[in-house]
């Protein structure tokens, strides 16, 4: 019977999407930090810059999962 292709672990997909989201949110948070949003568009507690540190947290989680569970090339056995 033909051996099935090895499945990419779910953890890699999670790592990849969280990594992308982390990058986007960190970048947005950084922009909000260097140029303050107009008064009418600020959310409550905007001065805490939650987007910046939350984005960094996502980046760290995403990086961990996508590296640890990245698909590896198969080594053919003799």
């Amino acid at each position: 019977m033909e051996e099935r292709e090895k499945q990419i672990p779910i953890w890699f997909f999670i790592g990849a999407i969280v990594l992308i989201y982390g990058a986007l949110i960190t970048a947005t948070g950084f922009l909000g930090w260097v140029s303050l949003p107009p008064a009418g568009t600020r959310v409550a507690l905007w001065e805490l810059h939650a987007d910046l540190w939350w984005g960094l947290l996502l980046l760290a989680i995403g990086l961990f999962y996508s590296l640890k569970y990245r698909p590896r090339r198969k080594h053919r056995n003799a």
Partner: protein, 712 residues
């Protein structure tokens, strides 16, 4: 970028929030990922076992995350946040007494039977234990229920996207549903499980900031709870003396808590009937763990699910409490949210179900808002996918295969599974529009739970623990309890003397009014309203000089309206709703809702007046009948559901036992691997104590007890 523009164009001017391009990009990336996962997994779903059981190779962690994610749909998060807003800390019971003991029971006691019998489904177990009759009732009722709950998920998603972003409800329903149809049809249960695990991460990462920022904003936990108890006097005046901040100490009497329930109803209704029914026999849940690679993984996965379940109040109950504590109007008064059934809902007031989205809008800026909205969409879609994949399995194995085509090949049943996934999605869409009858999204779910799931638990548990239970006993116990449940539901919504909805006046868009503000008690408050032009819709409101109903235009003399109207038993304040009117002297546009304010209706105004009295109303509860079921006329809908679930379980057990005693049981040889005492459990391999299910179940139980004591 054209796609971004298209989505941006869907945002109407009436939306609460405006998404930035980064938010839209985050949402689009999510859709791209789930579709890519579906296409990727198609090649791993080439047999019936792959499609329906994900190849039976899940690890404990994936099974546990999927088990809990299948239950953590946005229907749950929004619904239970609404519960916490409505019932305070009692809303957390759904994650404590209403879950943990039942999940641990499933892991330790019931899982070996499900696993060793190698059943495809819970109805499949009934067939093995009781025969075709019980299986058919369970299969058909479960198929109906999954479609209904899945429809509820879609309805809730469309509503929230409409509220938040102004997106058209139809477009939201169809785009999300078709995406789910694609990935479930391609990858089956494997695809659903992958997306559930993904959703688990998204929902936590997208939601956890709300309680963190909210508690900081409220000044800490203690100040938040003090604000909750202070504000409920304004927000929930009917139960203003009730304790909103305790789990158990307010359950000594029906009047001391906002749910109108006592400890017996909470413990036996929520803790035994609803919880054990939902967690131990709802196939949507059980399917997630019976596909684990071995029995120990199935048990440990379930226990991991219990541990994760106890954490969910952080992102569900706390936001509900924050809604009571920090949501304020511009004048500093607490913002009052109302039930869906309230005439003011969606016109002048947001509803209980909007509490979580309102907090998202309050605290989440660009990027984070996109993630929060994505988490919600993921939760809704995952909830739908879970139900649709369970529907496909039960339909194919428990309805189609035994009743329609017994001789199909594996390929044939695989195709049937794929087609029934598509049909399940279409039926869900059709169901989404029936939700307006119920005052709260979760109550809708609860109604279904006590219709079908609670009787199912009674039947299954007797079958597992009592070898004397007979096929006839199982069938009749199950069927009679379902009928009894539906009858109880009909009974509390029946009004032999007629139900008269609260008197209400709705002003047409553009109607012109003059307002008098001369209220001595509340300076600035409107004390009198004169309707100068436009049209009025009156329900149960008599007018001086024109007391009968019908459509007419006010002629030469103005008509007058009191602040209250007589109903059958009492007089009720008249509500006046003005969704969009013009103030005649200033030409300013305004919307408002008033109660108990007299009015004058000028000549030329068009009036449509109706007097309604119904004998049955699914959105209203008859207090006289409620008292019979829930032991108190103070019982709120949730309390009625809990007591109904309890009575339904009692009826199921009684009927099953009585019928079994008078009918012939199955021979013991046929009950092997199905009943306690006749099921040899596989010998556990030698393993360290920290891998044993019993040890972890004890740890989770201990934490559960400590949490209950802390928040007693």
């Amino acid at each position: 970028m054209a796609f971004l523009s298209l989505i941006a164009a869907m945002s109407g001017s009436a939306s609460m929030l405006h998404l930035r391009p980064v938010d839209l990009l985050i949402i689009i990336i999510y859709f791209f990922f789930v579709l890519a996962i579906g296409f990727y997994l198609k090649k791993f779903a080439s047999t019936g076992d792959d499609f329906f059981m994900a190849g039976r190779k899940m690890t404990a962690w994936i099974a546990g995350l999927s088990f809990i994610s299948a239950n953590l749909s946005s229907l749950e998060t929004m619904g239970w946040s609404a519960m916490a807003y409505q019932y305070g800390m009692l809303g957390a019971h759904g994650y404590l007494i209403g879950a943990i003991p039942a999940i641990l029971f499933l892991a330790i006691v019931m899982m070996p039977f499900y696993y060793i019998s190698r059943t495809h489904s819970v109805p499949g177990y009934l067939q093995l234990r009781y025969g075709e009759g019980a299986r058919s009732v369970a299969g058909i009722s479960f198929s109906f229920m999954t479609v209904a709950v899945s429809g509820a998920s879609m309805f809730a998603m469309a509503k929230i996207l409409n509220l938040l972003l102004g997106w058209d409800m139809n477009i939201s329903i169809w785009v999300a549903s078709l995406t789910v149809a694609v990935y479930v049809t391609l990858g089956g249960l494997l695809s659903a499980v992958f997306n559930e695990v993904l959703q688990f991460f998204l929902i936590w990462l997208g939601s956890l900031l709300i309680p963190i920022l909210g508690i900081i904003h409220a000044g800490g936990w203690g100040k938040m709870m003090a604000a909750v108890q202070r504000n409920v006097a304004v927000i929930h005046p009917a139960v203003q003396n009730a304790d909103f901040t305790s789990l158990w100490q307010n359950l000594g009497s029906f009047a001391s808590n906002p749910m109108g329930i006592d400890w017996f109803g909470m413990l036996f209704g929520q803790g035994i009937a609803v919880a054990f029914g939902y967690w131990c026999t709802d196939f949507l849940q059980v399917q997630r763990v019976i596909v684990a690679k071995d029995l120990r993984s199935a048990q440990n996965g379930t226990i991991i699910g219990a541990a994760l379940k106890m954490m969910v109040p952080l992102i569900v109950t706390i936001p509900g409490l924050l809604g009571l504590a920090v949501l304020m109007n511009s004048d500093g008064s607490p913002m009052v949210l109302v039930p869906e059934s309230d005439p003011r809902a969606g016109i002048t007031h947001n509803t209980f179900n909007d509490v979580l989205p309102l907090l998202m809008g309050k605290y989440l800026g660009p990027g984070l808002l996109g993630l929060g909205v994505t988490a919600m969409i993921a939760g809704f879609m995952s909830g739908m996918a879970g139900n649709v994949s369970a529907f496909a399995t039960v339909w194919t194995h428990d309805v189609y295969k035994p009743l329609i085509n017994r001789k199909g090949s594996d390929r044939h049943y695989l195709n049937m599974g794929r087609w029934s996934s598509v049909i399940g999605v279409l039926l869900s869409i059709a169901t989404a529009y029936t939700l307006f009858f119920f005052s709260n999204i979760l109550e809708y779910l609860q109604v279904l739970v006590f219709f079908f799931i609670v009787p199912l638990f009674g039947t299954v548990i007797l079958g597992m623990l009592w070898k004397r239970a007979t096929p006839a006993g199982g069938f009749w116990g199950f069927l009679v309890a379902i009928i009894f449940s539906i009858s109880m539901w009909a009974f509390v919504h029946t009004f032999p003397h007629g139900y008269q909805p609260q008197p209400k006046v709705t002003l047409s868009h553009g109607a012109e009014v003059l307002l008098t503000r001369a209220n001595a008690a509340k300076p600035g408050a409107i004390s009198y309203i004169s309707i100068e032009s436009g049209a009025l819709d009156l329900v149960n409101v008599p007018l001086f000089g024109h007391e009968e109903g019908g459509e007419f235009t006010v002629q030469d003399q103005p008509l007058y309206m009191r602040e209250v109207a007589p109903l059958r038993k009492t007089a009720a304040p008249i509500q006046i709703l003005a969704p969009e009117v013009v103030i005649a002297d200033t030409r300013e546009q305004q919307k408002f809702g008033l109660s108990a304010v007299p009015a004058r209706i000028s000549p030329g105004v068009k009036v449509r007046s109706t007097f309604i009295s119904r004998r049955f109303d699914p959105a209203a509860f008859n207090p006289d009948h409620v008292k019979v079921i829930a032991r108190s006329d103070k019982a709120k809908p949730m309390a009625v559901n809990m007591y109904s679930a309890w009575w339904s379980l009692v009826v199921c057990l009684l009927v099953t036992i009585v019928v079994s005693l008078f009918t012939r049981p199955k021979p013991e040889a046929e009950l092997k691997n199905l009943v306690m005492g006749l099921t040899p459990l596989p010998k556990e391999e030698a393993s360290p104590w920290h891998r044993k299910p019993l040890f972890w179940a004890a740890v989770v139980m201990a934490v559960f007890i400590v949490i209950n004591i802390i928040f007693w």
